[in-house]
């Protein structure tokens, strides 16, 4: 079951950028692409745990700042010759607000 948590306005993340949400399961990176799509994935590169939220965002991919692994924001899979994946989380934008599905994050909204 989904448990949508209102995180922040879309504008609080720069286009082609990311911000971090702290959760019980670790940091989740929230990305906003050039065309205002949003994605949520673990903020930890499958290679050497680099903070993906600090990478350069291009198309729907991010390049890890540590060793240039390219991770798909849509699937969480490493691209090209690299192998590995991070968790992805359900996320959407409604009325300009970013909503994150808390169901897998160990968080509960105020009942």
């Amino acid at each position: 079951m989904s448990d949508w948590i209102d995180i922040a306005p879309l504008e609080s993340i720069p286009q082609r950028g990311a911000r971090v949400v702290k959760t019980a399961v670790g940091c989740v990176a929230i990305f906003r692409t050039a065309d205002d799509k949003v994605f949520a994935i673990d903020d930890t590169c499958p290679h050497k745990k680099g903070p993906l939220s600090e990478g350069i965002v291009h198309g729907t991919s991010v390049t890890c700042p540590l060793h240039n692994w390219v991770i798909s924001l849509e699937t969480g899979m490493a691209q090209g010759a690299d192998e590995g994946a991070v968790n992805t989380y359900e996320i959407r934008v409604e009325n300009g607000r970013i909503l994150l599905d808390g169901a897998r994050l160990g968080a509960q909204t105020a009942a």
Binding site: S12, A34, E54, I56, H58, G59, T75, N95, A107
Partner: protein, 813 residues
């Protein structure tokens, strides 16, 4: 007796509903149409041409009084409905109660007035109805200045029309490019260029802070202390579904009035359609889906089954002379591929987005002739793998079977234009090839084809291949990354020669193959633009590597290292105390002395950076730029101050050089050193620029390396004064900034261009030396500042350094 049908709202959706309903079954209902506007139904889409003076109101009326009369519809225009009494099944207006059996709400939408101070001043208008248009025309009549807030479809149509009416128009748009909901950045750029060429000013990424005026509008204030004087302000930042009546009567509303597939609201006797409704979480603002709703609702009212389906909505901008088209999903993504066609010379951009060999999105600018053909393929979901190679060229090039691109080129008529920049057609190129120009370079030299923007180079090569057959060998592309076939040198040349001032502009004009580049090309483009246009170009933080975005060096565990600047390697007890205090306060686990005579504080948490910088700033310490492609350090020995061998004030000169050069961005990092005597304690002869002091003056040498490669510097010049050293150093760095490829250290660059050329430019040609210095100073007027002080400002805390949200706290509560 016929049932009573009451319709609230006489807009386009209800007009279409009436037509459809009466066509099928003229006597089904006794109809009353109530509208708040004091007039009947007109074609609202055509308000832009009315505003532009290209047509007038009479021509856009869709249903006049006679039509309503002929169809037996009771009309009550200029009357506002104030309440719906669902229990009694009647509505209340100034004329009292009107009973209904079935009620249709078609109240449309209102302009969204952005919530800033002054948004209610006289002279601030929306752009929804004829009253708005008349208000705008009245303002335009006296000329003057207009500011349009919102660079979407409506805003741009208003801007173009007001400009045509003789006003000076500025469009301010919150997002990074115009019409971002319909266009990608490249097409948005072309559109902006076109509007600017017409004299309409466009400001993107513009946050409106307020509207001011005494009794009427006088100016719009933007973030960044920008004031735009204006007599007219048009609010075109969006629309808001008009749901008040529905909400107050207890109907289910979200953003719009919620309807099911049959257009029925939460009350079985009440229906809604048009811009005021929300179907399946979507609110519609374009006319095609509204007409679909009207057809569905007509059937529903006649008790026939029909279901509204979310349609594919395409967009065209009604600005005379601007051709653009967009439809579908034009974002990038996994499993999505794109075919991009760009003809910079003619300002054409076409992009097809494919998934599983089917078109899912289309963006076209400049030439939209084939949009219908592509749109058909999108709607039908046709598998295009067989025609993929030539698909982008449109139906004219589609034979019965798949053709290879070479065949397409071979099939082009001799009069087909290959190079749009220089107007070179295929015939001219073929003649040149037959006359002996058998390489791209030779064709370029003899015909000028591909000599300007270079984006047709591939086409020229295909003409070569088609003409010469097997004797022509296709050269391998040497692009800077997978996004382009152009070299660093070509990119820099074109940025300069064509005055390209944004990343999307470069990508468009040079035919980028991706829509927003990658981690290799974007930082390079960002640097080239900073270097070429220090005053005009705004640094794009999102195109920077993490270290330059966060002004600290990321470490393998995600922590950062912080290195304060120590001018010329000099420090004081107070600075050391401040560094020690910061190290303790922020639990710095490791303190290291660098090879460049600085102190490195390693293991700092990201969240602590701004506070730590503020503490260091307070002690007079600034960023050491130990993370940048820019000036890192000027290493010195103590020279004549203390050393018994010193010949000159090497520390003093080092400090002067560092104060001159710090903050500048360069293609790669730059390190200097000044040694006070030939014993060379500062190791100046393996730096990018080194100075060795001697009794008679200063020996300046350049292009050393002590990294992956080891190389001694080479002599640039020997001069007598510190001032000359400074001039040479600045000129050398500026020449490097202007002509090196991104990520080439100076020694690599000098190896490419030749030391002789560098000496000519900075040593021999004094005029050029002065010009280089002047350009460097111009750039430094912007960049010679401490980024830490900027980044430590309180406003950066919530928007950059803090976490977006902390859900661990919520969970604990």
């Amino acid at each position: 007796m016929a049932q009573k049908l009451v319709i609230i709202g006489a807009g386009m959706a209800s007009g279409k509903l009436l037509e459809t309903l009466l066509d099928s079954h003229a006597d089904a209902y006794d109809i009353t149409l109530i509208g708040a506007e004091p007039r009947g139904n007109y074609n609202r889409i055509m308000l832009s041409p009315v505003l532009a003076g290209e047509t007038d109101y009479q021509d856009i009326i869709t249903h006049d009084t006679a039509w309503y009369k002929a169809h037996g519809i009771t009309t009550r225009f200029g009357e506002s409905v104030v309440k719906i009494d669902r229990k009694a099944k009647h509505i209340i207006s100034a004329n009292g109660a009107t009973a209904y059996d079935k009620l249709v709400i078609a109240t449309g939408s209102a302009s969204f007035f952005i919530p800033v101070i002054g948004n209610d001043l006289p002279g601030v208008v929306g752009f929804r109805d004829l009253d708005d248009v008349e208000a705008m025309l009245a303002a335009a009549h006296t000329g003057g200045r207009a500011v349009v807030i919102g660079g979407g479809l409506l805003g741009l149509e208003a801007a173009a029309a007001l400009h045509k009416q003789g006003m000076q128009v500025t469009v301010v748009h919150l997002m990074g490019h115009l019409m971002e909901r319909q266009l990608d950045a490249a097409a948005g750029y072309l559109l902006q260029k076109e509007l600017e060429a017409r004299g309409i000013k466009v400001i993107c990424k513009a946050q409106t802070n307020g509207i001011v005026g005494n009794g009427k509008v006088e100016a719009v204030l933007l973030e960044g202390d920008i004031t735009l004087p204006a007599e007219l302000v048009v609010m075109a930042a969006g629309i808001r579904p008009e749901t008040r009546l529905a909400t107050e009567s207890g109907l289910h509303t979200e953003r719009g009035i919620v309807v099911d597939d049959a257009m029925c609201t939460s009350d079985a006797s009440i229906y809604a359609l048009g811009e005021c409704v929300e179907h399946d979480s979507v609110v519609y603002g374009l006319v095609a889906p509204l007409f679909d709703m009207a057809k569905v609702l007509a059937k529903t009212l006649l008790a026939e089954h029909a279901a509204f389906q979310a349609p594919m909505v395409s967009t065209k901008l009604k600005v005379t002379g601007v051709d653009l088209f967009s439809v579908g999903d034009f974002g990038e993504g996994d499993g999505r591929e794109e075919i991009v066609f760009r003809d910079p010379g003619r300002g054409i951009y076409k992009r097809l987005i494919l998934r599983d060999n089917r078109i899912v999105g289309i963006v076209m600018y400049g030439d939209t002739l084939d949009s219908g053909w592509f749109f058909d393929k999108l709607k039908s979901g046709e598998d295009i793998s067989d025609t993929r190679e030539t698909l982008i060229f449109g139906p004219a090039y589609q034979g019965g079977e798949a053709q290879d691109p070479l065949a397409v080129v071979a099939a082009m008529p001799m009069s087909a234009e290959i190079c749009g920049c220089n107007g070179v057609c295929k015939g001219t190129i073929v003649e040149a090839i037959q006359a002996g120009a058998t390489s791209l370079g030779a064709v370029k030299a003899t015909t000028k084809a591909s000599a300007s923007c270079g984006s047709c180079a591939g086409l020229v090569e295909q003409v070569l291949a088609a003409t010469l057959g097997d004797s022509f060998e296709m050269p391998v592309a040497a692009g800077i990354c997978g996004c382009t076939d152009h070299s660093h040198e070509d990119i820099r040349r074109v940025i300069k020669s064509r005055a390209l001032k944004t990343i999307p502009a470069v990508m468009q004009e040079m035919g980028w193959k991706t829509s927003c580049g990658c981690h290799i090309c974007r930082p390079a483009l960002n640097y080239y633009l900073i270097c070429e246009y220090p005053l005009d170009y705004a640094d794009d933080a999102q195109s920077r590597f993490v270290n330059e975005r966060n002004h600290a060096n990321i470490q393998k565990d995600g922590t950062y290292s912080v290195v304060p600047r120590m001018w010329g390697g000099m420090t004081t007890p107070a600075e050391l105390r401040a560094i020690a205090d910061a190290a303790e306060k922020y639990n710095v686990p490791t303190i290291h002395v660098t090879g460049g005579q600085r102190i490195d504080l390693l293991g700092v948490q990201r969240a602590d950076l701004p506070e730590m910088w503020a503490d260091l700033n307070a002690a007079g310490l600034v960023s050491g730029h130990a993370y940048s492609k820019g000036l890192r350090t000027v290493k010195t020995c103590v020279g004549t101050d203390h050393c018994r061998f010193g010949t000159q004030d090497s520390t003093g000169l080092g400090i002067k050089l560092e104060k001159m050069l710090w903050g500048s961005w360069t293609p790669h990092k730059v390190k200097l050193a000044v040694s006070g005597c030939p014993r060379n304690c500062a190791e100046a002869t393996c730096k990018d620029l080194g100075v060795i002091c001697v009794d008679s003056g200063y020996m300046v040498s350049v292009a050393g390396a002590a990294g992956m490669e080891l190389k001694q510097t080479e002599a640039l010049a020997t001069v007598a004064t510190e001032a000359e050293v400074m001039d040479l150093a600045v000129a050398f760095i500026q020449l490097y900034r202007e002509s090196a490829a991104y990520l080439d250290r100076p020694y690599k660059w000098v190896a490419k261009v030749g030391l002789g050329w560098v000496i000519e430019q900075v040593v021999d040609d004094l005029e050029n030396r002065a010009a280089l210095k002047a350009r460097f100073e111009l750039s430094q007027s912007v960049y010679r500042k401490d980024p830490w002080a900027e980044q430590a400002k309180p406003e950066y805390q919530p928007r950059k350094w803090a976490a977006l949200a902390d859900l661990t706290l919520e969970a604990a509560e």
